[in-house]
Amino acid sequence: MSAVIQPAKAPGTADTPRETSGTRLAVRRFLRNRLAVAGLGVVLFFVLFCFVGPLVYSTDQTHTALDQVNLAPSGTHWLGTDAVGHDELGRLMYGGKVSLIVGLAAGALATVIGTLWGAVAGYAGGWIDAVMMRIVDAGIAIPALFILLVVSAITTPGLPGLILILGLVSWLVPSRLIRAETLTLKNRDYVLTLRAIGGTHARAILRHILPNSVSTIIVATTFQIADAILLVAYVSYLGLGVQPPATDWGGMLSAGLTAAYSGYWWLILPPGLAIILVVWAFNAIGDGLRDAFDVRGRG
């Protein structure tokens, strides 16, 4: 019986036996996944590189320097210069900022739209669900790249417009995941009880179903960001990206395409590798989170 008469300790002191919550377990499982932790490290590195880097390694990314174009890497220009004389390392930071901001914002926007759409469809059920999900099917049937090219033929968006368009073409997969989650949650006792005592539908979705789907939402967001960063790279390659003198990694890659045949490897390898590393990192984090939270996701 000795365990029962242990002296009570004030809550919050260091050796209070802490509750091992689901989140804590998930965090522990995540940290044991070496690839996921490596991914986290890569993301942190690139955030520092793009946002703090320019303070340390300051370069002129607005004015052209036509007397020093396509220079090979050297002591003054660590990664050489591009076709209009911009320092390539500085440009990598400058373009990375755009890629990261657009990718994060578009990925988050897509998840928000998809989550609300999927939750409402799954919760409502019946013909509302049927119509909403057929719209999702129709959206999935049209490849995002094709829609983006049609949009590019109509208009040239600014940065907020680009984020909006990317968000609007990529919310479909998360909406399916959240709908599936909602279908299992909406008949739980706490939701049924809430409805029985007169709680509104909005309250059921916002206060119960979405908070209980939070692990699915987090995992979906991570994969969505990876996809969005990749999509930004495609979009710039196809000519709908941010307009010069601003750039992003995809824009740098497509600008370097012709130069690559002249042997100017420093114009394509750095932005290409940066895209691969960051997208890989978000995918690895997503894999790690999915396994840690034990939710169904893609792949």
């Binding site: 129709a138 049937a141 490849p143 094709f146 049609v150 109509i154 394509i268 792949g299």
Partner: protein, 319 residues
Amino acid sequence: MSTPSYLIRRVLQAVAVIVIVTIVVFGLLHALPGGPARGILGPQATAQQIARFNHEQGLDQSLPVQYLHYLNQLLHGDLGTSYTLNAPVSRLIGERLPKTLVLTVLSLVIGLLLAIPLGMWQAVRRNRPADYVITTLSLIAYSTPVYFLGLILVLVFSQVLPWFPSQAPQGQSLAQVFSEPQALVLPVATGAASMVAVFSRYMRAATLENLSEDYVRTARAGGSRYGAILRRHVFRNSLTPVISMLGYYLPVLFGGALVVEQLFNYPGMGLLFWSAAQASDYPVLLGCVLVIAVATVVGTLLADIVQRIIDPRVKAGRA
């Protein structure tokens, strides 16, 4: 649900999706700045010219009437006329689509032939170094923009090592395309590489799931050899979810073809679409979107039906 009523339900769903796609495409066509008239007559057209054009083309009628008119044209195989190439869109797509299919089907078949054994092998050797290495490599390939992958392949296998041409076959007919097989290598390799990355992941996950099933343990307890169980049971059971993914994967395939065709200058539907986007040739753009969307909806429908026929567990609602 019995199979006939499932089929009817599923076909009706597919029809509904196609109707929604036509509404989206019709909506885009009318969201153009100045409408189709501005697109055809150009930015120099006067207001009177646009008004006359709209009247002649029935564009001053109400939207629902125009939509029904548009649907009627579609049902007669009329996708409109290209602004710049002065030819019916259906004929342009009809000429280009077979070439795109050659490219995508070759990439798909080669990709699957590599991805399926690879994914199974990874699942069998799960959590060993080889599995980690391949998982990481396929995730890296998955994270690589297809055009960057293609560019690297061109630089290595066409510039540094002059083994293959950097341009795809330029022939107009299919026979001409096949007459230059070495020119198909790099475009197909680019497409296949991204395919391997995606499908080895699916195959690995599907095989892992099956390896933990009771029937594997039962078969082993009954004395069957592990290799035989893998070949005879696990392989077939893991293949069904992968095959059903193919239907959903069609849009990605076409998106990939768009990039590969542009990169290797291959005269398929993707390149047609790309040049149409450069020229703001909306009928061609939207015609391609429509064809791809319908192909995807039909592909998904067929994949679902095939899966239901070959996998009795789907009918029982367990898979």
